[in-house]
Symmetry: C2
Subunit: 350 residues, 2 copies
């Protein structure tokens, strides 16, 4: 076990509890607003959770960002994706030049895009928006061998945590997690299946749009990967064996956010699968996480149910890049406006 | 039949068809963007519909507003609400002074709030945000007699259409419809039940939070109202008999918006019930309407299903005021950014 992995375990074990005082005060305030009690529906428990996470009775978010973590995957050798591996690098350039869907959605929401190379098999140019945290040029084929060495996984852990620390120091107050990586829905399915129950096929979907033959190859790959690591119960070891560098970086980013009272908006299946192992380290590890949406990938709904998270949006999106999380960011900000800017009956009529 | 009512019928009959050219061009553009086809899920048909409505391949919305139409209801004599009638007028003051939830949500979304007195039983002060369109100080008791005279209904129709025309002239490009009126979920249920099928009780919910006895009184009132107008099949006559002035104003506003290629984001049960009669005049009358959300009021889901509208949000909100529509406005704007600002593969790599 590396020092970084030990550090992550310790960080998980020492996660601060949510602020009971702030959440109780937020609940009390909500019930006193000039509106029928409970009438904001699911936005009310969201506001109470945000208060608990941030310690602020009236949380506000003015500096959101999406961290798009990217990596390549050796399992693409099994022809599990509709796209060639080179698309990962091409999309990284697209993110950096502002031409991807996530750039448009983030700009619309007033959010920054932070692109993380956690292990892309391409040479990327220097760019102010690029964080270099590469743990190698793609993982090994998770069907046949551990996706990452211990050193690689350790590097990705450290990088994910460091990037969040630096962004927090620069004022970040709401973190959306997104990802890019051809082959990474196969890695996500393998992690979820290894930590989940039932038939491993149930955790496998079509990702960016693989055909029937590709889906069968993907299911076979996940089944074989889960079989290969039978007996591995340690959640971080599962992530190293059948996950990917961007998944590891996102898990670390998620823990780091929790230590900084930073709410995290989760995107789709890959992001949600990447943080799933944390709950095996500590059941309430994701108390600061908001499910931005439920994607079209069938495994996503299953992971969300397992985590007890209700998605804010359920629009059948399956783009990745953090797009589903970003689509929910305005709603999170608006929910907070509902509690920060609306007067209570006492303030209004008192 | 009044001249205004005839005019509305003619406007409905002469609704311009959606722009097939713009929607086809939007669909083609979507499929060429640097993302997997279909990966924006329900946002893609939304974008295509917005193109069809506006005639713009790349629709953009920079001047949204919510029209909050308010009225009082004689049926409150049946004790169908958890709140006294005076709350309608109090909330109108709250809207005008910027202290209600809708003000906070609209400010967050960069939208204006236009408050319409369609028939509130209170004296309201002059205010730049108030549109006076009162068709009387509250309706009559719809359980026992027509809620409005023909002249009242006609006045509300004209007012709703005129307000939208004036707002469009001032630059409005996206209209959210909201409402306020103690007792108006009873009117909405009566309209929906009269035009719908099955047991009238199924169209009745708890509104702002009526107790079991209140719910039983509300169900009895709706049953009696529907029975009273048995044989009335004309949809606008149903609205006059068992609806309310703010419902009539919203129906007219909706038709006026269609003639100006203005997309309309619908709020909850009352708003959706108010535009339901239009589809009986012309089946595609609501082709320019977007269901912002599905509320906690059980009848709302039934009306949406009948209209074939899929809500963008489904968060159990039941505040009214346009809050559920406003919560969806950023998502509509963001969906458009997805098509207006993302390059196609040709623009990017060409």
């Amino acid at each position: 076990m590396s020092n970084d992995e030990i550090a992550l375990r310790e960080l998980c074990a020492n996660i601060p509890g949510p602020s009971a005082a702030a959440s109780a005060a937020a609940r009390t305030r909500l019930d006193r607003l000039t509106k029928p009690p409970g009438s904001l529906g699911a936005l009310e428990p969201l506001i109470v959770r945000l208060a608990a996470i941030t310690g602020q009775v009236r949380p506000e978010f003015s500096r959101p960002a999406v961290l798009v973590a990217a990596g390549d995957h050796g399992v693409v050798a099994e022809r599990v994706s509709a796209y060639p591996q080179s698309v990962t690098g091409q999309m990284m350039l697209n993110f950096l030049r502002g031409g991807a869907a996530i750039n448009a959605l983030a700009a619309n929401a007033g959010a920054r895009v932070v692109v993380v190379d956690a292990g892309v098999a391409a040479d990327l140019p220097d760019h102010p928006g690029l964080r270099r945290a590469s743990a190698g040029r793609g993982t090994r084929n998770l069907l046949r061998e551990p996706a990452m060495t211990r050193a690689q996984a350790s590097g990705a852990l450290l990088a994910g945590a460091r990037i969040v620390a630096a962004e927090c120091a620069a004022g970040l107050d709401l973190l959306a997690l997104g990802e890019m990586g051809i082959g990474n829905t196969t890695a996500a399915a393998a992690v979820a299946a290894a930590l989940g129950d039932g038939d491993s096929d149930d955790w496998v979907g079509r990702g960016t749009g693989v055909d029937d033959d590709g889906l069968a190859r993907k299911q076979a790959a996940v089944r074989a990967a889960v079989g290969r690591i039978a007996g591995v119960t340690d959640p971080l070891e599962v992530l190293r064996q059948v996950g990917g560098a961007e998944l590891v970086a996102m898990a670390a980013a998620c823990v780091a956010a929790r230590h900084r009272e930073l709410p995290v908006v989760l995107d789709g299946y890959v992001v949600t699968a990447s943080v799933l192992p944390l709950t095996a380290l500590r059941p309430d590890a994701l108390a600061h996480c908001i499910a931005g949406h439920c994607s079209a990938e069938p495994g996503h709904r299953k992971v969300l149910a397992r985590l007890g998270l209700s998605p804010l949006l359920d629009l059948g999106m399956r783009l990745g890049e953090g797009s589903g999380a970003m689509a929910a960011v305005p709603l999170v900000a608006m929910a907070c406006a509902g509690v920060t800017e609306v007067p209570t009956f006492g303030e209004w009529f008192g």
